[in-house]
């Protein structure tokens, strides 16, 4: 599903965020990406979502070499990936329903199909009763669940999450991770960046460990 081959990312000014990364994440796999802040976790996820381009090496997602995805095609690449952010990135002037529906509106789904799917997604994350509320009235954990519902509404084969539990207490964090495991069980590939070691170590999933831009665990030579 995801294959990194000798990937490096150097920012202007010479700072090397990632150096010579190689790993493979199989379809249907769930893995955690760990490491201290600044180890390069976010950069790695950005390369997959084409928010950044690598300075060297090759990234292949869904069998597609990302170097060959032109700027114009980036939106269509992102539609195949569900992305979840630490700060949720919700639109606060729209209801929960409208937030979750946004990817379908972008893709041009009909109104009926959108309504049906949004309710199904909200049901999955346990927020069906809150569809008419505005995100500002929800708790942090609920906002994150709205973010997850929005990420999965397009039924992407790949979910990326960047510190999805960063601002949540341990119990809510476990709940959120539980939701990710549910999606993984039905075949979605999941890659979660997190430094919450206490939580991750309780879960039986593969771990990729980054230290100063190098993979020290879980990679391949």
């Amino acid at each position: 599903m995801i294959r990194f081959t000798d990937v490096s990312k150097r920012y202007p000014g010479g700072y090397e965020a990632l150096s010579n990364l190689s790993f493979h994440l199989a379809q249907g796999e769930m893995a955690f990406l760990t490491g201290h802040s600044g180890a390069g976790k976010s950069t790695l996820l950005k390369l997959i979502a084409l928010i950044e381009r690598p300075s060297g090496g090759q990234v292949v997602v869904h069998g597609q070499n990302l170097a060959k995805v032109s700027r114009r095609r980036i939106p269509f690449h992102r539609r195949n990936i569900g992305i979840i952010f630490q700060d949720h990135r919700l639109l606060f002037d729209r209801t929960v329903f409208d937030n979750v529906a946004l990817p379908l509106v972008i893709a041009g789904y009909s109104r009926e199909e959108t309504g049906r799917r949004v309710r199904a997604a909200l049901d999955k994350v346990g927020l069906l009763s809150k569809e008419k509320l505005y995100p500002i009235t929800l708790s942090g954990g609920e906002q994150q669940r709205v973010g997850i519902a929005r990420a999965v509404i397009n039924k992407p084969a790949l979910l990326l999450a960047d510190e999805p539990t960063g601002n949540l207490d341990p119990e809510l964090s476990r709940e959120i991770m539980g939701i990710f495991e549910q999606f993984n069980r039905v075949g979605v590939t999941v890659l979660i960046a997190s430094h919450d070691m206490a939580l991750i170590e309780q879960m039986p999933h593969r771990m990729l460990r980054l230290e100063q831009g190098r993979l020290v665990l879980g990679g391949e030579e």
């Binding site: 979502a49 928010i51 114009r72 939106p75 269509f76 690449h77 992102r78 539609r79 992305i83 990135r89 919700l90 639109l91 946004l102 990817p103 379908l104 972008i106 893709a107 041009g108 789904y109 009909s110 199909e113 959108t114 199904a120 049901d123 999955k124 994350v125 346990g126 929005r150 990420a151 397009n154 039924k155 709940e175 539980g178 939701i179 549910q182 999606f183 069980r185 039905v186 075949g187 979605v188």
Partner: protein, 333 residues
Amino acid sequence: MIGHNRTVREQHEGGGRGASVRRRGASGGPGNYLARHLQTFFYALGQLSLKPFSTLMMVAVIGIALAMPAGLHVLLRNVQQVLGGWDSAAQLSLFLHHQTGEAEALALAAQLRQRQGIGSVEYISSMQAMAEFQRHSGFGEALSALEENPLPPVLVVYPAIELQGPELLAQLRQELSAEQAVEIAQLDMQWVKRLYALMDIGQRGVWVLAAMFALGVLLVVGNTIRLAIQNRRDEIIIIKLIGGTDAFIRRPFLYTGFWYGLLGGVVALILIELALWLLSGPVNQLALLYSSEFRLARSDLLTAASLLGGGLLLGLCGSWLAVGRHLRAIEPT
């Protein structure tokens, strides 16, 4: 979160069905595409109605900017209409040869009256001319000392109403001076020519003004859209992150510009009509004093259409400029 496991599994295990539904749901046929555009079209209008005050200000600015040159154009057309009437008030004086007798002069007058392009002809004998001159010039005494009347008989020719414009009048003068009895045919055209030259300047001025105000509208709309883009920066980034194309993001801003322009055109039209209505009273009074049938003409259909069309085009172009420049700069990081 208990109990959701089942739902999730159902959702994803129906993968084949889901995929076909997706294809059907997202199949952007022409109808669907049009529906989406229509939706954004009215969404943009709805957004504007949420901020009535700033929208009104914006639309008023555009309206005034459009009304200036368009209003001037309408006024100029009215002036032209008035001048059309004055043209025919121009007169030709035919100074006949001294020895021309009264019968001969009257015969020529009768003959001229039959000609096309001539409204009426007035005969002034040399004696009448002398009497008039004595009355008005103040040289009465001196003139009566003259042994012979030095003034020639004159035919005053009033061109027909249909005969308008300096060229036609000049041509008529040429023709009349060819008459045998006519010594000099005089047409005081200078003022008509000057007036027409002034009108040309006015017309050109309207275009220059229109171009300047159009540029102003373009920049005002562009700047407003630029601010709107900046205000919705976070939203744009989020939409880009979840797969919104540039076209999708661009659309509401373009329609916003469209609405600004169209509504500005409507305001301009209202302003012009209002101004004409305010002017019509005094103008009618003035016309009455000149015992003229002249009435201030309202803006015609063409002016109205070009005002609305020009307005929405300017709005669209202005927002297009802003969107083209600023949307690309906003990328998720």
